[in-house]
Amino acid sequence: MDILEVRTLKKVYANRLGANQVQALKQVDFKVEAGEYVAVMGESGSGKTTLLNILAGLDQPTSGQVLLEGQDMGQIKEKDLAAFRRDHLGFVFQDFNLLDTFTLEDNIYLPLVLAGKSYAAMHSRLQPLTEQLGISQLLNKYPYEVSGGQKQRAAVARALITGPRLILADEPTGALDSRATDELLSLFNQINHQGQTILMVTHSVKAASRSGRVLFIKDGVIFHQLYRGLCDDEQFYQKISDSLTLLTTGEAR
């Protein structure tokens, strides 16, 4: 079953007078099946972030459709969109986006509180999650008191606590050191094995090599895609690396 389907997505940015148009996305088509772990790779300016913003409902496409579990996101009314995102999507950002006025615990609760859940219900969801993520001891700390890796794990907990259909991760390892990166990637694999669908936008070959499928995006189109197949991480890393070299130097397809 497809969780996400993107059909002929196009996004054109125009400056105020409309004289100077920039095509961020020319034509993007792809599908993500339930339980998949997909990485989207591309250079700066290739349209990755635009794509992610549209998937997240933070930006509107010029044309084309985004279907989440068969529902067209373009048809959802503006006022319901926030609630829809909150209930169906989980977000992990490069710079964590934790609120410094909340403890980690309260940060994790935030989407549930916004959804109007009772404290008891929230608390019962919190416990297994924080144990899996290894942050049970840190719940009363404030974001500025913990390390980057710990912050990102809290952010993952916040993304997971609503039980979303899809996790959207935007360069989740971008601000982490190598150890924290390894830990986070293992964590992603772990939750993916439990059936969680993940879409991750990344620069890092290492991060991409842990996914199940890699989409390469260049100049606003899906240029290439790679399936892991039976490769182990290292082999997959090599394949991705080769593809990237081709992507940046030649026109091979």
């Binding site: 913003n53 997240a56 933070l58 006022k79 969109l81 926030a82 609630a83 995102r85 909150r86 209930d87 999507l89 977000f91 950002f93 986006n97 934790l98 609120l99 410094d100 006025t101 909340f102 403890t103 309260d106 609760y109 935030l110 989407p111 509180v113 916004l114 109007g116 009772s118 404290y119 929230m122 404030y142 500025y144 916040r158």
Partner: protein, 686 residues
Amino acid sequence: MKTAFYPRLAVDSMKKNRQLYLPFILAASGMVLIFYILSYLAHSAFIRVLRGGSELSSIMNFGSIILAFFSAIFLFYTHSFLLRRRKTEFGLYNILGMDKRSLARILIWETLIMATVSLISGSLGGILLSKLAELILLRLVKSAVSFSLSIDLPALLNSVVVFMLIFALILLQSLLQIWRSNPIELLHSQATGEKPPRGNWVLALAGVLLLVTAYSIALSIKDPIAALFWFFLAVILVIAATYLLFIAGSVTACRQLQKNKRFYYQKQHFVSLSSMAYRMKRNGAGLASIAILCTMVLVMLSTTVCLYAGTEDILRTRFPRELSVSAKISQPLPADDSYWETLQQQLLIAPDQTQLSAQNLLSYQYAYMIGQVSGDQVRIAEEEDPVVPTSDLISVIILPQQDYNQISGSSLDLAPGQALLYANRLTYAADSLTINDAVTLQINQRLSTADSLAEVEIITEAAGYTPELVLVVSDYASLLTRLQQSLNDAQQSNLYLSWNYAFDLKGSDSAIAESQQLSYWQGKLDTLTAQSEGRLYSLSVNAVSEERSYYYSTYSGLLFMAALLALVFILATVLIMYYKQLSEGYEDQSRFAIMQKIGMTTQDIRQSINSQILTVFLLPLLAAGLHLAFAFPMLQKLLLLFGLSNHRLFVSVALLCFVLFTLFYALIYRVTSHVYYHIVSKNTKA
């Protein structure tokens, strides 16, 4: 070329930061403007020649001194806020290779520009508006006005010097700040991680305690002049308590509410409550200042408006008749009333020798003596008696029954040897009273209040601190004779008679207009005093028409000064609020962007912002209202001291002031919160 570099840099950076600098310069100009007007009025020739003009001048002078101090503190404080916001910029300059000397030059130019602009615009505005201010003041005083625009050089010089000093102080502070910091610190000064606010129970409790103490002092003060010390203590305690409660109390309250999980984890409380704690930690001091400024505005305006509006009332209580004459006469005392009748007739001869006719007469006499009391015995004091300390002295006043009945409208009927007693500032329990071993009176009745004696000025005779016994007797004449016979030589001067005569003039003669002139009456009294060969030692006259202009110039001066100071305080409130919204806007910008990403709707965000803003908006106003309510009894007593007993007037004026102020405050808040919304919503889309 090179010399113009720093001025240009200064101008550029001020333009770039006009959101910060423009309000500051406007506020500074406003203060210069008002300062100029106050010192202009203090010097104004028009005002000097008014009746009561010197009082007006000194009120204006006093106002300008207060304003100078307030401006210094306030501009200093707000400028430090400006500087904090610009530290990053200075850090960048520093890293790009500009040394501290150059930074200092930029700062000097900036201060120079700010000072010049505010001084020029402020004094220009002041010169233009000073005439208007004068017209308003003269209208308030109910005096004729003239039209001519003038520039008052001393006032101008005054304003320039005072505000140059203030700006010099500001410059000094900025230079010190730059000198002490290092570039990296400057660059990151705005990004330092903030510790979560901790509720401080001790400070919060101290705040509550101080407030309760202050309020109970305010409520328990009986005589505000005697308890002036307590009055000021209460004011200081209230100020301290306001700061403590806004800074520590509010955070503690937020923290406590957060502990209540069922309450806290609700959509409408969750975000608001946690950001409120931070907001109050950062802005508690600013809000407390706003609350105190609001209180001051309200107190000043309501009392002075009330005094001004109640001037006629005050005049009527102070001077029930148009003219009142009071004569004091010492030994030898006149034998009978014919002496007074002659005096009265002489008084009523108009300048053209026709007889004026008095109506609405109030005439009474009394005997006044100074003595000491022991048991039921009173001994008239001997002149310069070395044994008796003055603190043991009391006044004894004896009033004829018929005069008392006339004044109070009662029908007292005492037998000879009986007396009605009113003991003021002492307790007298004995049933009889013997004076100088010569006169013994049985206390037949007692008064517990002096209400029925209100029209008699004898209560004020003892200057407000000497204990006094007021006795009303039926056989006044014979009693006086016996008393007089018992006096020894040294006691003579401590017994005298007072004759009081108050009346309105009747008829339409031109003589009346002239006769109301105090100088005419004064001249007449001088003649009469000379004729009495030293027996009349004090003869004084009060004409209401004369008093009226004194009262009006004093009260309208107070009102005017209060209105100008209120304007300045409101200006300060606006500026504090504006900067508060500005800094909060920048701080909340990123926070709300995150919330939107996580799935908070724009509506949710707006709701949360609104509830926080509303709380922050209402808190200082509520505090000001509460302070005013508790200060009310005390203020009422203070007004009573000025002779204003119309409580209903005060209540309605205070309420009106509060309502008007609330409307105005709401307006300010609307305007400034736009700034906040603008900043916050700038980044929420993305």
